[in-house]
Symmetry: C2
Subunit: 274 residues, 2 copies
């Protein structure tokens, strides 16, 4: 069918996507229904997949920047929401194709699945086909998972390398809040390009590290502003101090210029995002 497939597993969603010629849409959907409703999970394929995730997990040791961000989310969000989508070596070791099939049966919930199509297609035809393909006796929506405690505060993990990788995260409003755009603007003031505060204060004025930034990170009901800096051991404390100071200084006010830049930045990233 000439499908251009894509897929990803996040901490709260699994995404399956494809780009294809409009004329092939009706032929592609039954394949996706099959993948979603009746995953084969053949033993040899399952073993290969587990091997790959274990490799990816081990590979994090060669990618300390990603590792520190995964650790940060894990400690910041109330358990189990911050859990890394990769899991742990122990969890992966205990997984079998049967357990996986059971998980899918219990927790993949079509009543909470979003289906989106963009392009040239007939809305009525598409809805009829989707309703036929996914007409299953799936259980109703599961109750929401209840949130535990977040680990929070400090974690120091030893790492043999020339650098120190710092991750910092502070709570803010989730995407559903009326203050969502205020939070986004605050992050843009901290970290929107070379004129933003973290870049100017940490990098340009003090030369503390070449990589520093902040971003808005959200799950459905929780959100935070996460900051990353890669620096050297002798400059790590000052880097952390200045980042925290810059987070606090946001409360003292933001200039008209900064808000102007933040708006331009947010608008252009909205227009240019795919």
């Amino acid at each position: 069918l000439g499908l251009h497939r894509a897929g990803s597993v996040g901490s709260s969603h699994i995404v399956m996507a494809a780009a294809l010629e409009a004329g092939n849409l009706a032929k592609a959907l039954p394949i996706y229904a099959d993948i979603i409703l009746k995953p084969a999970l053949q033993p040899d394929q399952f073993e290969l997949s587990r091997e790959l995730v274990l490799q990816e997990l081990a590979g994090l040791d060669d990618d300390p920047r990603q590792k520190v961000m995964l650790k940060l989310y894990e400690r910041f969000y109330p358990a189990p929401f911050g859990t890394s989508p990769l899991g742990t070596a122990e969890q992966l070791g205990a997984l079998t194709a049967d357990k996986c099939r059971e998980l899918i049966k219990k927790h993949f919930n079509l009543s909470r699945t979003i289906f989106a199509v963009a392009g040239k297609y007939d809305f009525g035809d598409l809805c009829r086909q989707i309703e036929t393909l996914f007409d299953t006796d799936q259980p109703d929506a599961q109750p929401d998972i209840s949130a535990g405690k977040s680990a929070g505060k400090y974690l120091h993990q030893h790492h043999d390398g020339a650098q120190v990788h710092i991750g910092l995260m502070t709570p803010t409003v989730p995407v559903s809040s009326p203050d969502y755009y205020n939070a986004m603007a605050a992050v843009a003031v901290l970290s929107g390009g070379m004129s933003a505060r973290l870049f100017t204060e940490v990098r340009e004025k003090r030369g503390l590290c070449y990589a520093v930034g902040a971003k808005y990170h959200t799950l459905k009901n929780f959100a935070g502003i996460a900051s990353y800096a890669g620096t050297t051991p002798d400059k790590a404390q000052q880097t952390a101090d200045i980042i925290i100071e810059q987070f606090k200084l946001l409360a003292d006010g933001i200039s008209t210029d900064e808000i102007g830049r933040a708006k331009v930045g947010l608008k252009s990233s909205l227009i240019l995002q795919s």
Copy 2:
């Protein structure tokens, strides 16, 4: 002015960019003319900048994936074209603000500079302003730098980590060639999403590594297809063998489906790129 600045140094170009409100364009240009024609390079700022580049260079040890790609370009392209824009610690140690000023005077060439604006502006006014601001007695275009030899072949660099990082690169046509789109399609067949050959053969069928891909990389007169794989020591040889095999198999033909997918992929990335 609420400028949203951006800048980068590549192996053949320096890029300076800004996003701003259309009404501020005429006020921003004189500032850019100043930055380009009369860089201050104050001693303390210069030292800070050198420090940051040295830090970035040291930081590569914590980012073996980027490190292997920089080494790959360095050996693949004829000297000096593959030189990393970061330089070496020795070169950075020998650099002074005065030498830097001299380099800029000798080699920054306005007759070879491209100026681009998108948005709401008056073309005539803009051209007049640019001509006034940049009306200098700059030298004519310098002769092209002559290409030396490429180091090529194998390089093994020791690395303490759980993974082996493999970089492979083979010559192809540069962007000016009539075969450019054929080269891009070939790369898309090798590495355009989850249905592409490298992903399928190296990852899905054999589980050799979770990260594998190829990309087209070009300078003005030279280009190559570069491949990266991150794998484990016991699977490194087979990973390299299969990648090389997949590069060779391209010559045996490409199916209609694959070309269809490649076209869809290239078109959508063209539409979605900023």
